[in-house]
């Protein structure tokens, strides 16, 4: 189950770039990482853990991945840590929502507007109450009322 914390009264890894470069990079499963990198940043990860930049056309190291992509990889490969996902674009965020493990912090539960999908998430609200959801439509329905209350 993916845990989504809406309160920050907990230890959170805020600096995803630093954490990725320092810890996650060395523990990557190249096949899983390749799929994530292609899906989020739209680039092909090579066996030497480098990729061709879409912008410069040059081969670059993984520290040049987007912060959103690094956040997804941090969550996947460090399921015992809570990562801030406030910098994630919607592409990275929706990828995380589909994970079945890991933990993130969000100040605002940004949910898809047009396309709902199955999830397995536990949202821990600002009062530290847990709410379980099996699809994003359920989560949206709850979050609409919750936002009006807080």
């Amino acid at each position: 189950m993916l845990n989504i914390y809406l309160h920050d009264d907990i230890s959170i890894e805020k600096f995803n770039d630093v954490y990725f470069n320092k810890f996650t990079f060395s523990n990557l499963d190249i096949n899983i990482a390749r799929e994530v990198v292609k899906s989020i940043d739209g680039v092909i990860l090579q066996d030497n853990k480098k990729f061709v930049s879409k912008i410069t056309g040059g081969e670059v190291a993984l520290d040049c991945l987007s912060t959103g992509c690094k956040t997804v990889l941090n969550v996947i490969f460090n399921s015992n840590k809570i990562f801030s996902a406030v910098e994630c674009g919607t592409n990275a965020l929706y990828y995380i929502y589909k994970l079945r493990t890991g933990s993130i912090y969000l100040d605002n539960l940004l949910l898809p507007s047009f396309e709902d999908f199955d999830v397995d998430i536990c949202v821990i609200d600002k009062n530290k109450q847990e709410h379980l959801f099996k699809n994003t439509l359920e989560a949206k329905s709850w979050y609409g009322g919750y936002k009006n209350e807080i």
Binding site: I40, D41, V86, E87, C88, G89
Partner: protein
């Protein structure tokens, strides 16, 4: 926030094979988009450029533990480029930036709270034919 740029109306440079061709129409340009579109790449380009151009100043997550308010106080006549805005700008800094008429801002982030923005401030990055530009994120509403 609809105000004219006080420092730079355009900025053009070359980085490797990429032409950076930026045009600014307001004093605060907010870049927000999905992940992997080149926001941090552009920040890195301008971070390098500040060595050559004293009108540029940059802030990112490496400044999170410093007094950013103090840094902003020391700036005048700068284009201040801020990456990782969602994790380094608190409410007070956002208010300060929205009311700063001595400097111009280019901010990369998602949370627009407290910056007093309109669609005129919202841009995204477009890379085409080796040229990186800023284009409006939304169509005009009027």
């Amino acid at each position: 926030m609809k105000s004219n740029p006080v420092v730079l109306k355009e900025y053009k440079t070359q980085y490797l094979d990429v032409v950076i061709d930026l045009k600014f129409t307001s004093n605060l340009t907010f870049i927000s988009d999905i992940s992997g579109t080149g926001k941090t790449f552009l920040w890195n380009v301008l971070n390098n450029e500040k060595i050559l151009d004293s009108r540029l100043a940059t802030l990112n997550f490496t400044d999170a533990l410093t007094d950013i308010s103090d840094k902003l106080s020391g700036y005048s006549g700068k284009l201040i480029i801020i990456d990782n805005a969602d994790i380094i700008l608190n409410d007070n800094l956002r208010y300060r930036i929205s009311s700063d008429n001595k400097n111009q801002y280019l901010i990369f982030g998602r949370n627009v709270n407290g910056l007093n923005l309109t669609v005129d401030n919202m841009y995204k990055i477009l890379v085409s034919q080796n040229t990186l530009k800023l284009v409006p994120k939304y169509g005009r509403l009027y």
